[in-house]
């Protein structure tokens, strides 16, 4: 077993384990912290696949910015056990059943998949480097790139629209 393979399995175990911890921990703050661990493990995978840019962005944007935001929201909401709504047993069971079915279907189809590609890519391939990524983004993928600006613009307008204070004279609307 080479060092890269050990690293691969270690990162995989870390990602899966911390992802399970995210949904099983009682306290939401712990969940968020475990989620950060998951992101770091996935970033490790990205680096092993020679996608450095993606790895860094994943850490900066997800583990950094979004998770901090999450933490703030969780803390501001001041969740505790008493204020949590009662969970219906039947609903839990139904959720388990539905989720399990989806998992089973995906698992069943993946069991039959035979394609195995190399798990790591070391020293070869430079598609994940910033330079090539930028070239691809502004040559081949310039249309989706521009179109996504419309998406973000609409999201921004929406956020302003929802967040804006209504003036008093529009009461009752």
């Amino acid at each position: 077993m080479s060092i890269t393979e050990i690293l691969f399995w270690f990162l995989t175990a870390m990602a899966l384990g911390s992802a399970i911890m995210v949904i099983t921990s009682r306290s939401p703050v712990h969940s968020v912290l475990w989620l950060i661990v998951t992101f770091f493990a996935i970033s490790g995978h990205y680096i092993m696949m020679n996608a450095q840019f993606l790895a860094i962005v994943n850490i900066i944007v997800y583990a950094g910015a979004i998770m901090v935001l999450f933490l703030f929201v969780v803390m501001l909401m001041n969740l505790n056990a008493e204020s949590e709504p009662q969970k219906n047993r039947m609903l839990q069971f139904a959720g388990l059943l539905a989720g399990g079915c989806l998992f089973l279907v995906i698992l069943a189809s993946l069991m039959k998949a035979t394609e195995t590609s190399s798990m790591v890519q070391l020293g070869s391939g430079n598609e994940g480097l910033i330079k090539n990524l930028g070239k691809a983004l502004f040559n081949d993928y310039v249309i989706p790139f521009e179109i996504s600006s419309v998406l973000f613009l609409s999201a921004m307008i929406g956020a302003v629209l929802i967040g804006k204070k209504e003036k008093a004279e529009h009461d009752g609307n």
Partner: protein, 450 residues
Amino acid sequence: MMLGGAFIKDRRTPVYLGIGGLLAILAACAVELKTGRPLLVIDVKDMLHANSFNLTFIMVALGCTLLYFLLNGRDFEKVGPHVSEYFALIFFILCGVSIVATFNTLLMLFLGIEIISIPLYILTGSDKRNLKSNEAALKYFLMGSFSTGIMLLGIAFMYGGNVMGTFFINNMNLGSGPMPALIGVGLVLLMVSMSFKVSAAPFHFWTPDVYDGAPTVFTSFMASIVKVASFFAFVRLFESAFGTLQSQWQTLVAVITAATLIIGNLTAVFQQSVKRMLAYSSIAQAGFMLLALFALNDTAKEGLVLYAAAYSLATIGLFAVLVKMKDYTVDGFNGLSKQQPLLALTVTIFLLSLTGIPLTAGFQAKFYMLWAAIQNGHHFWLVILAVLCAAISAYYYFRIIQAMYFRENSETVMNEWDITPSFKYLLLITAVLIIVLGIFPNLVIDWLHY
């Protein structure tokens, strides 16, 4: 040929500028369709592709939006003070509509669907003082983002599964043999998420709540143009990418169609609120449009465009009247024919068209759909079921007509009608359009063959 780009400029404009911009784009579209030469050429790297079918559809969508603006433009002010933002968001949605109508890669499909959905979440919740509107927006947002997640997962599977390693739906070369495992999963996931977007059963649970909670002006847009556009994307995706595999997913679509028809029609029968009834009826109509996906032949394509026009026109007209009503229950329509004979007449025509009575556009549309399904030759029971469901739908549509004409308004409280003559004429034009399309469906379909 980036038709979507033209929409962005129309931000922060009052009604007239919106209508003007729409007319300009409509004209550009028509010129392109007639002459086969676009006004503005942008290299899109084959990610968007427009032929006469797509352009006709975009024109139908734009035309319906034009009518929608003309009918409802002044009612936007009732929702809240940010009228220009509402227009901006609707133009964004139109941009998304033209993307999903012309997309050629899964990437653009995703972007288009998102550009449609995100402004819709906001429009649903735009009535901030109304708790129901808030609830609807939150529900729609949560469920919608979940289905988007499923769609992304499906796209990832498709990308990993096809031999070519491509997002382009035409180059996937899936062949007609048994599906590889990854493709199978991707296909089902994509089908689930698209069924959610078009509110097909059993993924329809958000529809009544969202349609009911959203401000009525926006429900009108949501139920007509957006819905039809999602359908178009659904059919385009499955035709281009999975057309060769049709025999393998056809039964699944048949089951979804049957469930949608039955659930939509049977639940609509029990509704008291007209707005909610229309939400269920839109599920039922979605069942009919699913027949196009089921059959997937030329007749189905013609039928889909016709259905888009017929259904959108009738729905927009019906909701435009509903916006003016105070009481959304069926009893609210009591004695309408005495107070507003012209309104009652147009509502009757819209309802007849939705039911599919001959001489209306709805009949032709339904006829094309059924004919396409028969031509397809498989699962004949589905056609019989569809006809039966159309008969059921007559019951709840006719209940409103009966209320309008044969019942007296028992209460002394009269609705105050703020109806301008131009509104009446526009409604009349819409109704006439429906009848004209019902008699000469070729007016729309001929555009396909330029």
